[in-house]
Symmetry: C2
Subunit: 413 residues, 2 copies
Amino acid sequence: MTAYSHEKSRALFERAAKVIPCGIYGHFSPAPLIPPSDYPFYAESGAGSRFVDVDGNSFIDYMCAYGPMVLGYAHKKVDAAAAKEHKKGSCLSAPAPVMVELAEYLVDLVFGMDWAFFAKNGNDVTTYAVMVARAATGRKKVVAIKGGYHGVAPWTQGLGHHGVLEEDCGHILRIAWNDFDAFASLVEKHPGQIAAFIASPYHHPVYADNQYPAPGYWQKVQKLCNQKGIVLIVDDIRCGFRLNMAGSHVFFGFEPDLVCFCKAIANGYPISALMGKGALLTDAAKVFYTGSYWFSSAPMAAALATLAELKRINGPELMLAFGEKLCKGLAETAKSHGYDLKVSGAPSMPYLRITDDPSQMLHQKWCGLCTSMGAYFTSHHNWFVSTAHNETDLTDTLKIADRAFEMLKKEKR
Amino acid sequence: MTAYSHEKSRALFERAAKVIPCGIYGHFSPAPLIPPSDYPFYAESGAGSRFVDVDGNSFIDYMCAYGPMVLGYAHKKVDAAAAKEHKKGSCLSAPAPVMVELAEYLVDLVFGMDWAFFAKNGNDVTTYAVMVARAATGRKKVVAIKGGYHGVAPWTQGLGHHGVLEEDCGHILRIAWNDFDAFASLVEKHPGQIAAFIASPYHHPVYADNQYPAPGYWQKVQKLCNQKGIVLIVDDIRCGFRLNMAGSHVFFGFEPDLVCFCKAIANGYPISALMGKGALLTDAAKVFYTGSYWFSSAPMAAALATLAELKRINGPELMLAFGEKLCKGLAETAKSHGYDLKVSGAPSMPYLRITDDPSQMLHQKWCGLCTSMGAYFTSHHNWFVSTAHNETDLTDTLKIADRAFEMLKKEKR
């Protein structure tokens, strides 16, 4: 295994830096999140579980486009469904029948949800969810989790981020994950003022171990929300369809009022969805919310094809099983070299971290080494697996990981 | 000409109403904007300037998907460019080279703009523009136009809309269009506090005549912005590439700091862009802003193909010329029946209104009649033409309009 080189990626990035803010911005930004020397910046193509960068290097992809890829890149069934709609125009002056079919399919699929609303980004639907909750309750305050990510709208970024005003997030109250007492205190402190509680099904921050709900946590949160008329919003954008086809709330055994989906819903085609309980349908209808391309049929057809395929093959179980083998194999490989690799979060989107590494530089270096040999890992963010990841990928990945630990040890000496 | 029937549209809508807020929401919502009996709710396919609804009725489309369709539906060159990227995966773990190519192309194309940032919706980039302006100036207030539309984020919807808090729009100061003195007064009243001025190139509200800038208006606004360090943002989402390929600010002869594009940029493929002056590149880079599908290559390739084709055929000139013939023909037809049809805004996206009709019900009825015979007009919103609209469309449209005026007269008696 020789380390990949990245001449073409670097050259493109130099051009980009002149005409695009950051060159590459947001969660795809190479800096400061990853050691640039080890990572490709531009991809040429993808197929199944792998992508090839512009320098011709191939990667087993454990980021899956940061979630959207769930059945494998360039998936024939999904692409065919979308192509059929593109041939018919896709973005027309009225929606296509597939919009109704997709809503009906989702209502049938996702437990406890009676309606669906479609947009483009996760942020579109988390913001819409908060607006619906405020419209429904006539209240302003929203309880969220410290370190919880719900998109880039100022209200979710929070104070301290560039371009965000204190007024944007003055009614967002942040508490620690799994701290039910903190929620109960806020409810007591702000009687009749809390519109919503929003959180992901489990806590998946960056740069920190991911955390499942403590036993009874969600059930207590749900009970208090129900008692106090607080709208319970689950941001299932990252976990959705990687834990359970009926929604991650089924995986954890509770019933929210609103659920946000995006990412895995259409294998990369741009669509997000807010789903809700029947009691909120009228309030959802009151909020004016729309976008230029939100009625395009191709992503809706792609979503139908993706969900049907995921259901047919029991995608979440496959991904959980593969992720478990992957994490177990990586932890064992680490151990054989004297490292302790801690795994947290769901196996289908695990967060890994070398312990005894407070600066996380050792872990970053190891992820970089793996990437530079073809196993695309990031060090700061949970990974994702897909149903396209297979035994060959696993074997290849463990070999790369083994070699990377060996190199890490040598470097330390 | 017999009026179209809409059994299948109605049946689908009844299903939709049970599982989707409003059945169809936002600007595509049939109620209360259009008389439902005359309009199709669901489209089956589109080609060129026309679309066919689920009942098999064909329409010459003067809404163009509310703007995105600019070269005609199912455009071969654009679709081929997008399909090539979809085949390669499109939504991968790193952006494709086409992202850099598109940014470079736009910087070369759009006058005075040095960089480009890509997102999905118009709302994404208007909100980002405001955040960039606030980050750059350290100020909070934004001057906008009464009746100006910049998307659905709470700050732009404004107070009184469901789900919007006073805190969301407390720093948005609304003034009348073309009232430079009102802007100057605000600048005086809030010294050093105004981050940005945002407006469309000309005023295109709903339910009201559209208005061009008064002579010298934009130049005075620009001068004051430059003097006071206020970021001048043009929302070119609706007009962009329908007035001038170099940006609508060139059409009106001024130089903004930031320009927002969407709609016509990729002939229906989901992409929007914020472009800006070099002086704002560092500030733009500071604001964290991203979305799940923003790096997908297919819409970027579609944008490159769309812009190149629009440039090659001089799209804006074609659309302005066709629009002028259309509006002139319609006004003459109206006159021959004793009606006065007032045309405002750019001919490539004209707003029409029957005068002496304060309730606008006569105009609504006429638009409905035209639509029910195959010329898809809305009564409350500016229309759009495309480069695919041709002489046959014009002849057919004028015939339909003639018949509709005749029916309108009979109904009145």
